[in-house]
Amino acid sequence: MNVSYRWLKALLPTLEMGPRELAEHLALRGAPVEEMVSPGEALADVVIGKVITAGRHPNADRLSLCTVEGPEGVVQVVCGAPNVTAGKYYPFAPVGAVLPGDFRIKKAKIRGEVSEGMLCSARELGLGQDHDGIMELSGEFTIGESFVGALGLDDTTMEVEITANRGDLLSHVGVAREAAGPGAAVEFPEIPGDPGVSAGYVEDAVRAEAGGVFVEIRDPDLCSRYLGAVIRGVRVGPSPAWLQTRLRGAGARPINNVVDATNYVMLEMGQPLHAFDLGRLGGSGIVVRRAAAGESTFTTLDGEERTLTGDMLMICDATVPVAIGGVMGGRNSEVEDDTVDVLLECALFDPKSIRATRRALGMSTDASYRFERGVDPEGMRPALERAVAIILATAGGALDGPVLDVCAHAFEAPTIRLRLARVAHVLGVPFTAAEVTDYLTPLGFAVDGDGDGILTVRVPGFRSYDVTREIDVIEEIARAHGYDDFPADLGAYRPGTVRDHPMFHLEEELRGAFVARGFFEAQTPAFVPEGEGDVRVSNPLNALEPFVRRTLAPSLLRRAEYNLRRGNRDVRLFEMGTSFRRVGPGEPPEEINHLVGVLTGRRAPDHWSGPSAVLDVWDLKSVMEEAAQRAYPAGARVNPADGPAGRDVPWVTARYEDGTVLSVVDADGREVGRGGTVVEGAMDVPAWVGEVFAFEMALPAEVIPTPTPVFQPLPQHPGMERDLALLVPDAVNSAAVTAVAREGGGEILREVGIFDVYRGEGIPPGMRSLAVRLHFQAAERTLKDKEVDRVVGGIVQRLQEELGVEHRG
């Protein structure tokens, strides 16, 4: 809402705050000022100039040679504008004037002719984008007077942010009410030339008629009241300067005196009005009804053809729609230059219906914006009367007969029971009945006390939308008292009943582990292209990413790609985020927290003692194992995958090569994650990029508690080690070898380790040599060589029999 400071000051003559102070005050009342503009500030040197003569420049076709009367008498000016006309007034910058942008006017010779000053366009003055010609001023002016003063530009336009509950602040009166100090009242400034006519009202609940013009409400649920005033014999033309100035100060563009009168009242009082050309209303009447079957399109006054539905409330003449009620008027009944008779509408529409209609039409107007937020039901007659006064004062004509007032449901001001004890309970500070009355009265509320700590608060019409309950009144008291004037002493509190959610702990633990391994945490939004998710957003803003993701790896790989292409050679990224999976129609998707990682480059920074090795699959397996052990503490394993995963396994993307796929399996044998080498060509990266590894793992839906460690007595007797060199066929993996060794070792075998793998000379093809170290120890005794030898012999024998593994020595 653009608020003119001068307009506010006219409504509230006692206002002492300047614009800056007022902005601060409004912020602390809940209506912060976003921006303040004072266009007049830079135009102190510009004056009103009158063009006496305008002729062609002798040496240039496109230029005119004019004489302009200014403060220093008549001077010669060369002008490039096509619209310069003798006898008219323009903003004039004489020699020595400085225009916005520090542009100083000098005496100059243009194509051989002396020019002493400049006639200005709106754009040159910083008053708009209009640069088609110089700014022609309508009305009577004193030559040489200050341009800013003559046009009332010594104003500050304040852009006030109005919250959705405060429709009443979408007017100068509303803002003035918030600015008013105790005891100060808002007064309506007099309309210059107001003839003071009043013709009375003719009232009915359905249909009212006077002087051959009628108004009828057929849909009282969507329009509870409709006022129509008939003014005959107007002369449509430009508004006088005072009216134009007011509108400009509030950021509105003057159009003509009739339309400007309605806009003035809307900006001043918050009541949207509409003027119809009565001569173009068929049957000389207004019917308020929903669009009928067959009325499928309608051209609004902006020239757009709108598609109607049967839910939309239309203002019609006897036969056809002439306006979309509360949203926008129609082309077919618009006030134009030749309009003589006017029907002025002041109506009260249902906010929800207005909102539904304007959303269905994909539009929002000054009127619909206000009706959606609620317009003062008690302010209708004053608003209409003020608009009539302005039209009569600026466009002439006469009010024809009584005003038609069809009121289907009369407004009843709500009253609210306010308990002072409740006020103290919620706000933490007690307030007396007198204090409450002092705070609420200037805001338009009427307060009655019963003396027993319970007050009755009558809500004014303009607040009847947002103040409906006791708590709404309590907020008004807090606002009027000033939030900053409440104490802020930290008191005692009771601990809550909600346990800190364990998933946050798991996330913290994983984050810490990955950061300690030199990984950077990434955050990527959940929106992905088709193929990476199966839950679609029904109203996406970005058509390229209409899904929420089922798998996180592609998003993270794109971040890895981004880094590699920017020369970040060592990329270690991880992310934790939600995977969405479709469940069934009408049901919210299933959500599973995923952990995803990507790694490539060197294992450590290079050192002068020797370059670092590059990350390989054993690094991948290491991080996967750590993640698996932390997320699934009860025995998760990372093993080669059994084969390609089906499409229903979300953490595998087609980008992984089957050959080096690792699988994370939880204690129950369910696969919960996969990782591997990213297929060459899957990422668009520079040629120097080596192998890239990635993995994705689902975190458990409920955090699995880590078993509490149980103390084991430390060994009292020495242990013993035995190394075995084994010839293992390629078909047998090392996990099978260690498993057999464990089984054969019994309870004295404490550890099985692999310390070398060798192929080549001396080893038959299709075989490899595995060096295995066995660590034996018994809790209660010192082991004897003979016993250990026997157990080792047993292991060797089982390896031979079960796996075809040969013992080399």
Binding site: Y493, P495, F520, E521, Q523, V537, R559
Partner: protein, 340 residues
Amino acid sequence: MTDPNPLASLKTLEEEALGAISGATDAGEVEAIRIRFLGRKDGRISALLKGLGGLSAEERPVIGQEANRVKGVVQAALDAKEGELAGPAASQEYDLTLPARGVWRGAAHPISQAMDEIWGIFRDLGFTRARGPEADTEWYNFVALNTPLDHPAADEQDTLYLQDSVLLRSHTSPVQVRTMQTHEPPIRIIAPGWVYRRDTYDATHTPAFMQIEGLVVDEGISFVDFKATLAEFARRYWGPGTQVRFRPSFFPFTEPSAEVDVKRVVTRADGTREETDWLEIMGAGMVDPAVLENAGYDSERYTGFAFGMGPARIAMLKYGVRDLRTFFENDIRFLSQFAR
């Protein structure tokens, strides 16, 4: 010729040698001493050992052992002196100014770090953390929170829908309602997590972003407790000397509603201290009684307050990041600036 008292001679030799070594001033001198006493051919200790042949079988091992001890002592003294004279310049092999062996340093995402810092303060103020689904129903996201869909207030959060009444939550407030449905008061939680809005990417908007909301409900919680708790948070997060301001505002789920602003004192590079403008850091208010009732609480008995903030915005202010999109590029050159 046989030494009549080889033990005494050895003692004298030891003293002479150690004296000479301690007086030596350069490496050449040390080398000369080494040859004089330990030289294989004519060294005096060697010579003495050669003379052992004439000793009795009882004496020989005793003298031999003593001679070897003296030899060792002299040898060690020579080595020590040599090292001392060589000084540090000679040990380039152990140039400890060379860089250490490095390890990669990782970092949590700056928004995670900001969230962690915020959580740490609320933990100290007695809060715990709650979570809820990111895809939720209209009822939890709007209706339960006193936001009718046909009211302009619903426009403020242009929402992304998945199906008819299923949407991507536009704030983490649904977690508040779910928590109240499953727990008795006192409630003292924060709910951190992703939220979604129908926005395009620009310097200050992203369609998905992190939010932290909080909720306190108990008997006797007032506007004073609300102000006190959030002012305490703001001062702990932004530093002592921070001014906190509460401005009236509007949210359908709180009443009275407020915006919380802070004004910080920052120290410039030249050491001068300066006040910032008022910075908006969160929206908050007393929980609307309708929300308490919708969650099944008796709003006459219980009151409370709620608040919400965007850690990304707070991280921008704190770290001086100008463009929100920087957080989502995940450029390692950016992320590594937050390594600790």
